[in-house]
Amino acid sequence: MKENVASATVFTLLLFFNTCLLNGQSPPGKPEIFKCRSPNKETFTCWWRPGADGGLPTNYSLAYHKEGEKFIHECPDYVTGGPNSCHFGKQYTSMWRTYIITVNATNEMGSTLSDEIYVDVTYIVEPDPPLNVVVEVKQPEDKKPYLWIKWSPPTLIDLKTGWFTLLYEIQLKPENAEEWETHFAGQQTDFKVLSLHPGQKYLVQVRCKPDHGYWSSWSPEYSIQIPSEFTMKDTTMWISVAVLSAVICLIIVWAVALKGYSMATCIFPPVPGPKIKGFDAHLLEKGKSEELLSALGCQDFPPTSDYEDLLVEYLEVDDSEDQHLMSVHSKEHPSQGMKPTYLDPDTDSGRGSCDSPSLLSEKCEEPQASPSTFCAPEVIEKPENPETTHTWDPQCRSMEGKTPCFHAGGSKCSTWPLPQPSQHNPRSSYHNIGDVCELAVRPTGAPATLLDKAGKDALKSSQISKPREEGKAAQQREVESFHSKTDKDTHWLLPQEKTPFGSTKPVDYVEIHKVNKDGALSLLPKQGNNSNQPEKPRDPENSKEYAKVSRVMDNNILVLVPDLHTKNVACSEESAKEAPPSLEQNQAEKGLADFPATPSNCRLQLGGLEYLDPACFTHSFH
């Protein structure tokens, strides 16, 4: 019987166990305490990982005892730390003491004890992240903006008594950057970041750590937008724009200054002045009109049809500045044809083709009756330069007998180019004396360098084709360009003209009062330099006609050629200073009156000065 009971009991137990096993129930697996942490050295929490629960509800209990104590305590708080945790409050937490902790898992089937862990709160300190992170962009005046990061320590940490010591660290990066920029902040609760990229959006994080322990996790990212440095960029940009434009302006001004003359002449071609081929200023200075005239190759007067060619020769009187013109010219005498380089293209008018070697060779040997071509050995009268000796003579002499060089300007002679505005009149007065020979009178010592530009003329011949040259050619007819400052023999007193360049000797113009029958010029008394000045503005206004001077007689009588078939008009002798008569246009008109109406194209208005193209007269006569 007993045996039966015993065996039945055993059988039942076995059956029970088998049933349990078949159900998959077992005692719980071994739990494991995997982490203990203290955020403030005043409390701490441990967490365990449960093992297999064995299919049955399992209870966990934590038991601990301290180093040096034998009393075993149970976890005071399973809740605060979450599931499977044990929280040790202040009264249960001791520093510098080892805790021996175990967790017991229990279910119906049994219980399982975890391994013991030995915990010293001293070494498990890990704070919470910092709180209240504030990020601002501060922009002090005159300084670059910086980032101001401010935070507060996590709660429940006692810093005041010194029980806990916190150290901080911040991290920031531009939004799209990969690497974080780390800055250790020590124990302070704010930080300045100075190196910023303006216009970027930055992310900022802060974390903290006890003096001895683990770093906290990072605070949430705080983003902030750095304003772009607009004012700085603006200022820089505008400064650079201003500098650039100033530089450009300077370059333009410099270029204009350098090439001002050439540009000005481009825009405003100078009025050509008269050019007389073969005119020797030197002779004129000496007062040897005879020689001068002979030098010019003029043997007879009035001009014959050959003079037609001479008409193209222009006495170019330039009383403009051009000291260097003078010098250049003087240099060039020996080397004819050397191109003068000077800044005032105005002074050339109907450049003397005689001086141009090419022209000389080509054209000077050919008599060209076409009036359209004008050889214009330019005589540029310069008021100032008495020394401008100029070897006009040889050239002209060589050309004596030959038709003067003609400027192959095409159909230019027949129609005188419209006179250009006489802006350059003051500067360069040209005498356009078609008849070189007629240009007899020349004030002694006149600095007018009629032929200074002999060399230049050669060059200018090339320029004759230019319209402005023709304008100058027209201008050349102006007898006024003869500078008459000294009284001396020929009272080629011309209205004084002051050149803007302050040439030493302005051109004097003398008004011709009347022309006697025999061609004598009676000049109005010249009232002196000063008085001439008011005349000066008047001069351009007056339309004056100038007649050619055929020669100067012994007693300083100008022999004019108002018109070709009038007789020589001798100018009355007047002291240069007394009566600076100018070539009165009346005389010319008188002479012209006999003419048929002058071709309109012969009469040029040049800044108020009317020029007659003697060539026109010549033609009409022929």
């Binding site: 180093e67 005041k160 003096d211």
Partner: protein, 217 residues
């Protein structure tokens, strides 16, 4: 002449008493006390860092996995000193007692540190890192002790030289023939050193805030 020499030496000896840091008034001394505490805290912090590193390196190299921690319980020679174990207890100790306590702990470690250096140096294949740290800790501890005695004399000049300290008798253990026993002896020593250096550091930071900043760090 010899007698004169002897007397002069004695006089010199007596004159070697630490001059008071603040000959002047208390106000000036506050500033100086702050400097002393700052320096003390720096030293204590440094010493603990060294101790912690030394322990970690030793454990990793020699005793990892042996479970010595379970045996090194309640085995520090300074456990007899009544040291506070939490903030509340620490705040209940008087300033004077606190300072004396710190000095006692430091004094208690003079001898163990000395022997530690000696023994590690005499080891076969002396671990250089551990040895250098031991030497450094010993030296800095001496300086910290001097500083603390200075602070004590300043804050509590009436305190006599405190002779209380714990005697260390672990030298024979360091010299045991059994490797495991010897290793445990070292382990225990370094473990206790790490703990006590942390104590000192924490206590000094507490005192600094209490004395210098009036509990308003």
């Amino acid at each position: 002449s010899l007698l004169l020499l002897l007397v002069s030496n004695l006089l010199l000896w007596q004159s070697v008493t630490p001059l008071p840091v603040c000959p002047g008034g208390a106000v000036r001394c506050q500033v100086t006390l702050r400097d002393l505490f700052d320096r003390a805290v720096v030293l204590s912090h440094y010493i603990h860092n060294l101790s912690s590193e030394m322990f970690s390196e030793f454990d990793k190299r020699y005793t990892q996995g042996r479970g010595f921690i379970s045996k090194a319980l309640n085995s520090c020679h300074t456990s007899s000193l009544a040291t506070p174990e939490d903030k509340e207890q620490a705040q209940q100790i008087s300033q004077k007692d606190f300072l004396s306590l710190i000095v006692s702990i430091l004094r208690s470690w003079n001898e163990p540190l000395y022997h530690l250096v000696t023994e590690v140096r005499g080891m076969q294949e002396a671990p250089e890192a551990i040895l250098s740290k031991a030497i450094e800790i010993e030296e800095q501890s001496k300086r910290l002790l001097e500083g603390m005695e200075l602070i004590l004399s300043q804050v509590h000049p009436e305190t006599r030289e405190n002779a209380v300290y714990s005697v260390w008798s672990g030298l024979p253990s360091l010299q045991m023939a059994d490797e495991e026993s010897r290793l445990f002896a070292y382990y225990n020593l370094l473990h206790c050193l790490r703990r006590d250096s942390h104590k000192i550091d924490n206590y000094l930071k507490l005192l600094k805030c209490r004395i210098v900043h009036d509990n308003n760090c």
